[in-house]
């Protein structure tokens, strides 16, 4: 009897299983999209002509490679001092840096993907380290990387050390030299990749020499042969681009002038942008992060502002509850916004799909994949728009 049951169950279930397995629903994979993928060596977020690789393994899960057109432009300095910049990470000078290629003693390390594309991928790196000079100090933090299809990477770091005992940098110096406590959030790049530094109204500047820096820049653009790498800072204070040997470090640095480390909180936000036109465009895009254009969202019941944390209009403002609340299922977006942008909308009711329609006084029509929707919950959608929103244009967003 059991044999009969088994045979019959197999006979009847097989076509169902085949039907189910052969007819999985393919996800939306447009040509312009940002995607997330895990592999043996870590995790990769890839977009149009670039990919950002997050390190795997037990070490810090910060990015260890940024490929543009197939070339890794991230700086790698294995011979750097224990607190010197390499790859991307957090500096705790004179203690070891928090980066994938450091020997830092970690209490915790994790990578969590909170948004998976196609419009936005968001990766959250958490870390905690023990200071060798004092076991009571356990600095810890979170770095949120929000990546868009056109090469905009918004990074937000926050870290904290609640221990109240004041530490001397001498006891904590991993290389034994006298130093000051400096904390930083940085990217490092290969110096030879770039030919010039560009800032508004000053194009074609020389890349800083070894030991030199360009500081307090709200936006900047490093030009290479085929692409440009721009950076924007919502808070430009203490932002620097400086050269360390063969590396260019782009980051924001905080110096503890009291020369002791205790009970601190620190946060830093920046946008990194990959372009393939010129630094003028790159600076405009960086400027849209440093000083976002106002976006009008009709039927919005909550403030419309571009989040410093993720670079999305209506994104997480730090409350952990992103999304512009709408009173209507149809809403209109009006600018002008000078570059590509994303908006996070929260409709009053659930919708299976939303679509956007561009209207213009001049009769302009959008061509190709000019927007990407991404559902985050049954009522919430992130829409990424490829093009700037001109003053005479309106985008209608509605479920369908």
């Amino acid at each position: 009897m059991s044999y009969r049951l088994t045979v019959l169950a197999g006979v009847t279930a097989t076509p169902l299983l085949l039907s189910t397995s052969c007819l999985s629903l393919p996800s939306y994979q447009p040509d312009i999209a940002v995607m997330y993928k895990e592999d043996d060596s870590g995790s990769t977020v890839s977009g149009s002509g670039f990919s950002l690789h997050f390190a795997g393994g037990p070490g810090p899960r910060f990015p260890d490679a940024l490929h543009v057109d197939g070339v890794d432009i991230l700086g790698h300095a294995p011979a750097a001092t224990c607190f010197g910049e390499s790859e991307a990470g957090i500096g705790l000078e004179p203690s070891p840096r928090i980066s994938p290629d450091s020997d830092v003693d970690l209490a915790r390390s994790d990578l969590r993907i909170t948004l998976r594309g196609p419009a936005v991928v968001q990766a959250e790196v958490t870390w905690a380290t023990r200071l060798s000079c004092n076991a009571d100090h356990e600095p810890q933090g979170t770095a949120t990387f929000t990546v868009f299809p056109d090469g905009r990477i918004v990074r937000h770091d926050s870290f904290v050390d609640d221990a109240s005992e004041q530490l001397s940098p001498i006891a904590c110096a991993c290389d034994g030299r006298l130093a000051w406590f400096t904390i930083s959030s940085y990217w490092s790049f290969t110096r030879s990749t770039f030919s010039s530094l560009n800032v508004p109204n000053q194009e074609g500047l020389l890349v800083p020499d070894d030991g030199m820096e360009a500081s307090n820049l709200p936006v900047a653009c490093l030009a290479s042969g085929n692409y440009q790498l721009s950076s924007g800072w919502r808070d430009q204070k203490s932002s620097t681009i400086h050269r360390v040997g063969d590396l260019l470090a782009v980051g924001r640095y905080g110096l503890f002038k009291s020369n002791t480390l205790y009970n601190f909180r620190w946060a830093s936000s920046a946008a990194l942008l990959v372009d393939r036109s010129d630094c003028k465009t790159g600076l405009i895009r960086a400027g849209e992060y440093a000083a976002p254009s106002p976006l009008t969202v009709t039927s919005a019941t909550t403030p419309v502002a571009q989040s410093e944390l993720d670079g999305i209009y209506g994104g997480d403002a730090g409350s952990g509850a992103p999304g512009i609340e709408l009173s209507d299922m149809r809403t209109e977006l009006r600018g002008p916004v000078k570059s590509s942008f994303a908006v996070w909308l929260r409709f009053p009711r659930a919708s299976e799909a939303v679509r956007a329609t561009l209207t213009s006084d001049a009769g302009d029509r959008a061509a190709g994949v000019w927007y990407l929707p991404q559902q985050t919950d049954e009522r919430s959608w992130i829409l990424w728009f490829r093009d700037p929103l001109l003053a005479n244009q309106t985008i209608l967003v509605e479920p369908f």
């Binding site: 019959l8 006979v11 169902l16 039907s19 927007y371």
Partner: protein
């Protein structure tokens, strides 16, 4: 009948014939029959005697009876009894002997009649019992035969009904299997359409087109799975019905469970 009895009867015959002859010829004063009747009765008597002597007892009995009807002579009843006795009909013989004794208890052959009654009574009783037993046996045999025929009829009727039921079940099984083929074909068609839509989905760059194709794909996929599932259930049910109709005497028991993922089905039967 013993040898002594036969001899005795032969003697009785002679005595009866003699008695009857004397009686018929004597024509008593109180006798009612006319002379012509007596003469006719005597003729019958003689004819009866002749038959009796030849051993033709049935004809002799008829002649004796005719003579008695004309003469009402009791000894003729005795002769009638003898005829029955010789013809091996003990019951009428016994009845006739008793009738003779009732009519002529002191007649010339009354003692002979009593002897014959004594001789025939157990024979008749035995024959009556045997007859009753035979009748009862025949009745029982008849009852058994009726019961057998009823049982056979019932079996035939049950067989006809069973055959009709099997035929109906086989027909139903054919219909169900045919329906399952149609369902599976419909599922396969929807599957093919879904497969084609799936290829289109992979190439959809525009989100609106993707969503519309996704809806089409989901509908086609549901139809495919439903077609396969319903076809599988119908096919299994049809095969089980066919199996029971084929005489295995199984009783089909179906149970099915479709999980939200769409894909578990258990079908079975038990005896």
């Amino acid at each position: 009948m013993t040898q002594r009895g036969i001899l005795s009867n032969l003697g009785s015959i002679s005595a009866a014939v003699l008695a009857a002859t004397c009686a018929l010829d004597a024509a008593p004063a109180h006798a009612q029959p006319s002379a012509a009747a007596r003469s006719e009765a005597a003729g019958h008597f003689r004819q009866a005697q002749a038959y009796f002597q030849r051993g033709d007892f049935d004809r002799a009995l008829g002649e004796y009876q005719a003579a008695y009807d004309l003469s009402a002579e009791p000894s003729l009843i005795f002769n009638i009894a003898l005829c029955h006795d010789r013809a091996h009909r003990p019951e009428p013989a016994l009845e006739a002997f008793r009738r003779y004794l009732a009519l002529a208890p002191n007649g010339a052959v009354a003692d002979e009649a009593r002897d014959d009654i004594a001789r025939l009574t157990p024979i008749v009783e035995d024959r009556a019992r045997a007859h009753a037993a035979a009748v009862e046996h025949a009745r029982e045999r008849d009852r058994d035969e009726v019961a057998r025929r009823d049982d056979a009829a019932r079996r035939d009727d049950a067989a006809r009904r069973d055959e009709a039921s099997r035929s109906r079940r086989a027909q139903v099984a054919h219909y169900v299997v045919a329906a399952s083929a149609v369902l599976v074909a419909a599922g396969a068609t929807a599957h093919a359409l879904a497969w084609r839509t799936r290829h289109r989905l992979e190439d959809d760059a525009d989100f609106t087109a993707y969503v519309q194709d996704r809806r089409t794909f989901q509908l086609e996929r549901r139809l495919a799975i439903a077609g396969y599932a319903a076809g599988a259930v119908a096919l299994t049910a049809g095969l089980l019905v066919w199996r029971t109709a084929a005489g295995r005497d199984d009783r089909a028991t179906l149970s099915a469970a479709l999980t939200p993922g769409g894909a578990t089905l258990i079908v079975g039967w038990s005896r």
